[in-house]
Symmetry: C2
Subunit: 233 residues, 2 copies
DNA sequence: CAAACCAATCTGGTTAACCAGTTTTTGATT
DNA sequence: AATCAAAAACTGGTTAACCAGATTGGTTTG
């Protein structure tokens, strides 16, 4: 799975402009799945932008699975059909940067699932990794240090144990933004982390015992406090 | 949010190699958040790879929020801390391409949530868009045509109405792969689509009536058949 | 001695040239 | 007219040169 895409603010507007024009072109020419797009050079000339800009957009749409480019051959429309493509392009154009609330909402949803799956599918190796993350977390907290990072690593270990690569990827995508926001708003202060040790232990034990119901329950209580914190921001 | 990242099979190995070396370098030099990485040129020389390769990796890690590059200045370690960064790099190295089962599992999880949120937050404009997608779907099915794309567009409209940009993005990411797999395995045949019309109508009405419980329930029954199909592949 | 200035240097970003396959056209041959 | 080899044109990918802004260290100046 790819993960690219430029984030430069100015560039983003240019990209949207190109995506929009490209969508119109595809509709106008009635290009169908499998059809070849005009070459990058031609598009850059037609849209009056640099070839780099065109390449960025193509790579972005390739990430979203809309286009496929073949070396020394051309860029082709993926097998998802014209309607789906046009609709998806609209959605991509409409996409905004995620807000904190949206991130937390998604994280909670994902984690309540990964913890359940982890308790069903975890291997001994997974357990070992979670144990290490948990110990690192405990040590930091008991020394009165900030432990947001170790906290998240424990949760990432759970995601990995869930054996669902898609959810694992998504957790990785949202984690850094979660961390920065947490540190920014001081979501986790010392005594909260202290409380977190027991909660983490509970989650770990439930996964170890392969008790999905209990695991989910413990994760829920773990998030209850975080949830309140986040919505008080 | 960015979405890049190259997917070329050969390149991917090179990228992993560089990520691994970069992680070792950061650990060895004890680089902390905010610290500046060596320049791209220096890294490409040190790792004996092209500067393009280094740039690709940096962009990838930037997408995951681990690095931040400032024009005419340098690439810096994001404010997520060394431990989190090292751990995340390990996870990224371990990431595999998503399998179909993982995709479906994630899709169901996301949609059971977005449909609930949509029924709570939908505007009249959202309703209109879903209505259009639904009508396009109906028309295709009643003419005996394949309607996988229109199906997915309806679901994307729901994701958009959920007002959760993160989930919306994630739905967009997995949709194309879902479509190709569906068409590949012929998950949706004609009579299944026929049944789908009523299910879609039910979902639409529940969202219109702002009844989250019913909406989720209807989505669940909608997925029940798909679920069986997917696990029979 | 500190502050202000300035030029050399270094940075990521951008552009243009180049490369190695692919595709299409061409034209000689049968 | 059909065939097929060869070459010209075109493709996305890669590399190297270039750019403008940021940084840095030394020098000058008050």
């Amino acid at each position: 799975m790819r993960v690219d895409i430029l984030t430069k603010s100015e560039n983003l507007e240019v990209q949207k402009e190109i995506i929009s024009k490209l969508r119109d072109l595809i509709n106008y020419k009635n290009l169908e799945p499998g059809d070849k797009l005009p070459s990058e050079r031609m598009l850059s000339e037609k849209f009056e932008v640099s070839r780099s800009n065109v390449r960025e957009v193509i790579q972005k749409l390739e990430f979203f699975g809309i286009l496929k480019s073949r070396p020394q051959s051309g860029t082709f429309i993926a097998d998802i059909g014209q309607i789906a493509m046009s609709g998806m392009m609209d959605d991509i154009l409409r996409l905004e940067d995620p807000d904190f609330k949206s991130l937390v909402e998604t994280r909670i949803l994902l984690e309540l699932k990964t913890v359940r799956l982890a308790s069903l599918r975890r291997t001994e190796e997974d357990l070992e990794k979670m144990r290490q993350a948990l110990d690192a977390y405990k040590e930091k907290v008991l020394n009165g240090q900030d432990a947001v990072q170790e906290d998240l690593l424990f949760h990432l270990a759970i995601a990995q144990a869930s054996k669902n690569t898609t959810m694992n990827t998504f957790m990785l995508i949202i984690t850094p933004e979660i961390i920065t926001n947490f540190e920014k708003y001081h979501v986790c202060d010392a005594n909260l982390s202290f409380k977190g040790i027991q909660e983490h232990e509970d989650i770990y034990n439930a996964i170890k015992d392969q008790d999905p119901k209990k695991a989910k329950e413990k994760m829920k209580t773990h998030f209850k406090i975080l949830y309140q914190y986040c919505y008080n921001v």
